[in-house]
Point group: C2
Chain length 183, copies 2
């Protein structure tokens, strides 16, 4: 499977990143986006070099393409995504449970922008999104929420996603660690 | 559903936590454990008060019980878990794909200790675990890996987990935020 699956593009827009404090969690968000089949991560607000370097290093070793962009205005990005014909899915513990709505989201062929926030998310994002989707109503983690959402959207087929150009690959094994060096 | 489902106890053992640097990611691990139906988190090595306080605050507001323990020796904890009749599931990108093995894991009624590491995990854990389970062979996040594993183990029924004594609850809604204050 190609990243993005049948939707052309699935991007993740990360809100509320605070450089320093959030660098590890935002890096996890980016790597989950890539590993579960999204095509890219857009980091709203200032650029954080440590996130950018971590993502670049994973793409160099494990393959790509994976789009990374930072320093954008979230609102403007979201509005231009919508006017280009894409739709917006906002992950929030206040929304509709993923299992009740993902079928509807998956059935539309539109490119999807998946919005994940940090602690407080402005009302604007609830109103402007096509779907507010909850990965349960207990507080947990935007990293986990993104993984479960993409798992449901792609019906588990992230297992078969192909990335080109990586130098490393893993061979599954009961007592692992088997790493393959490619060409 | 009660946390732990049919297994009596499902605990998560977090290895390799570095206080300060990992406090946010480890807090996410703990909250995912709770939200996806595990009964507790055991933090190997030194206690990190900021993780402990975050977990306590969530349990106070959103309900429990949720066991939290720190300052333990991971090896000794794991050995006593096994000698008490429990089994050990180690999440690692080198293992067997979750969808190929979770049925076997779920079919045993034994209490389960789910081991999640940080960057480098010692060979010991691969050898001593009953199962080395991969949530894909791409690098991503122990937070995401734990969520997907517990989702598969409990077959999505984390949605219906009941926590007692919480003061807050959320009502799902298409344009949320609807929070209920309980008695």
């Amino acid at each position: 499977m190609k990243p993005g699956g049948p939707y052309g593009r699935v991007y993740v827009l990360r809100l509320g990143h605070r450089p320093g404090r959030d660098k590890r969690v935002t890096t996890h968000v980016a790597l989950v986006a890539r590993a579960f089949g999204a095509n890219g991560l857009v980091l709203a607000g200032v650029c954080d070099e440590s996130v950018q370097n971590s993502v670049r290093s994973v793409v160099e070793r494990w393959g790509g393409p994976f789009h990374f962009e930072c320093g954008v205005s979230a609102r403007r990005y979201l509005e231009s995504w919508r006017s280009a014909g894409g739709e917006v899915v906002h992950l929030t513990m206040y929304g509709i449970h993923v299992d009740d709505i993902v079928g509807i989201i998956a059935s539309s062929p539109k490119p999807k922008l998946v919005v994940v926030g940090a602690e407080k998310v402005d009302r604007f994002y609830f109103d402007v999104s096509d779907f507010n989707v909850s990965i349960g109503t207990q507080p947990h983690s935007e990293v986990a929420a993104l993984a479960v959402f993409l798992d449901r959207l792609f019906r588990g087929s992230w297992r078969r996603i192909d990335y080109e150009g990586g130098r490393l690959g893993i061979v599954e094994s009961p007592r692992g660690k088997r790493v393959e060096e490619k060409g």
